[in-house]
């Protein structure tokens, strides 16, 4: 790995520079990275506890994307459930890895505070900062402590720091370039893969996606009744190629293998003139 070994986790001061929902998004990413550690660390973890952690992460993610989308009753319900799970994780910490437990606590706390922030604005931002930072640090230590003896802990730790740092840097850049405020929702999906350089050796498999081989990106649009002229078709072709190549560029920039054309089809109603479409 050619990452810079001096890469450091973002400090609380740095995280404080992010707008509020970017902080929550950052914390969600930390929680998502360590989520696969829970089952191997606690093979007998009850399903309802696992579900509670997932609900907490899911709620934080949904709240970050659409801050005002959840009902107050629903937020309170999930916040209470997440808080119970956090308490349970603390009780169990001596039996399982301490930092995995702490990660669960931090992840659920992030969700709780994301929720509390919705309900009670007082001090919510500073709470989110603290807990986003906790999530990052606990998940880092969990990564190090859970690495098996056969893997290079230093490399795992470096991969973890690098991935977290890059999330933070991308969020900060997007926040700057798009002028995010504390009210701006942040879609966590925009951050891309959790491990752009590949999953660290010895890390539990990310099982969030059932079938990896079923990946398809569809780009669809409706054509207006266009003049049947070569320059119009050429302009459309240029715009479409722009979308396809920029999607491919992003796939490659995120560490993917690149995209290829799987299919291209034109559907037209039976009464609509088709007009010169083969070379769209």
């Amino acid at each position: 790995m050619a990452s810079d070994e001096r890469v450091e986790l973002p400090s609380a001061k740095e995280i404080a520079t992010l707008p509020r929902w970017a902080m929550v998004a950052f914390a969600v990413r930390c929680a998502q990275r360590v989520r696969p550690l829970l089952e191997p660390a606690w093979p007998d973890i009850p399903n309802e506890r696992l579900d509670a952690v997932d609900r907490a992460i899911g709620l934080a993610r949904a709240s970050a994307a659409s801050p005002a989308s959840a009902s107050e009753a629903h937020l309170r319900l999930v916040a209470d459930d997440a808080a119970r799970t956090a308490g349970w994780a603390v009780d169990r910490a001596s039996e399982a890895g301490e930092h995995v437990a702490s990660t669960a606590v931090a992840a659920t706390d992030v969700a709780v505070f994301a929720v509390v922030g919705e309900l009670d604005a007082v001090d919510s931002v500073s709470h989110v900062i603290d807990h986003a930072n906790e999530a990052a640090r606990h998940s880092y230590y969990a990564a190090v402590s859970e690495a098996s003896d056969s893997v290079d802990i230093g490399l795992v730790a470096l991969a973890f720091r690098t991935a977290i740092r890059r999330d933070f840097d991308v969020l900060r850049r997007l926040a700057e370039s798009e002028g995010w405020t504390d009210e701006t929702g942040v879609d966590v999906d925009r951050l891309g893969p959790l491990w752009p350089e590949g999953v660290p050796e010895g890390w539990p498999e990310d099982t969030e996606f059932e079938r990896r081989d079923e990946q398809l990106l569809e780009i669809g649009f409706k054509l207006p009744p266009m003049p049947d002229r070569a320059e119009v078709r050429a302009a459309l072709r240029k715009k479409l190629i722009g979308v396809l190549t920029s999607a491919n560029a992003m796939h490659l920039a995120e560490g993917g293998s690149g995209l290829k054309i799987a299919k291209a089809k034109m559907y037209s109603g039976s009464r609509v003139r088709s007009g010169g479409g083969d070379d769209v």
Binding site: E210, R212, G220, S257, K263, K265
Partner: protein, 257 residues
């Protein structure tokens, strides 16, 4: 004059009158057509076609069922690629459209027709453009892949730098906005042609021809012209990433949040 001669004369007169009317109708048509350039004639024909389609009562009759294009992209190595990359691409495209929708009002000013939304009708025809699009775009995608592999060899990193990743997102958003703007422009152009047709009908079409059109085969089109609808334009550029996620990624309690 016998009764038979009188009937023959009346019949001949009726036949003559019918021929005369037919001759005058054809002359009127010739004059009307001669008054239009070939481009105008073509435009008229298209406008009438569009109105006929737009005002149809039956499902599948309207412009809503116009041509749709779908291009599917798949990763070269899906087994090893993180599906979150496709989700990120989809999320960026959605963000670009959200910005666009928030910053501008493309809705047009009045109602009646809404172009651009709807479903493909069951009897829609399907044309496979895969080979053509592969030939046009495939080499460009391959070149991007080669360049990325070269960069990876040089840097030892699979993914781009933070700057490159942010720039890739900006480029994608820009290209989605560009396609959407282009399509919106074309829809506006189509709408403008319809409106021009309405003005032409009301102000420039010779009255005899208007009557002839009103009484003839294009009565539906004529009605549409006289109603002079303003066209509301809605353009959708959908980018859909299809990846199969486990249920736990969307816990039941957060669905619909």
């Amino acid at each position: 004059m016998s009764e038979d001669d009188r009937r023959d004369g009346e019949s001949k007169s009726a036949e003559e009158r019918r021929r005369e009317l037919e001759r005058r109708r054809r002359e009127l048509e010739r004059k009307f057509e001669a008054s239009l350039s070939s481009e105008q004639q073509e435009q008229l024909e298209r406008l009438l076609d569009q109105f006929m389609e737009a005002i149809g009562d039956e499902p599948g009759d309207g412009l809503d069922d116009g041509a749709s294009v779908v291009v599917g992209l798949e990763p070269h190595e899906p087994e090893s690629d993180d599906p979150r990359i496709l989700e990120a691409i989809q999320a960026e495209a959605a963000a670009a459209q959200a910005e666009d929708a928030g910053g501008r009002d493309d809705e047009g000013e009045a109602a009646g027709l809404e172009l651009g939304a709807g479903f493909i009708s069951p009897d829609a025809s399907e044309r496979d453009l895969t080979d053509g699009v592969k030939a046009a775009v495939g080499p460009l995608l391959d070149r991007q892949k080669s360049d990325a592999e070269e960069r990876r060899r040089a840097t030892g990193r699979r993914s781009g730098s933070v700057e490159e990743r942010v720039r890739a997102r900006e480029d994608l958003r820009e290209s989605v906005r560009g396609l959407r703007t282009f399509l919106t422009g074309m829809w506006n152009y189509a709408g403008e042609r319809l409106r021009a047709g309405c003005r032409w009908w009301d102000q420039e079409l010779p009255e005899p021809m208007k009557q002839w059109l009103n009484g003839g085969m294009v009565v539906a089109g004529a009605t549409a012209f006289s109603l002079a609808p303003m066209v509301s334009l809605v353009v959708t550029v959908g980018v859909v990433a299809l990846v199969t996620r486990r249920r736990r990624s969307m816990p039941r309690d957060t669905e619909g949040v």
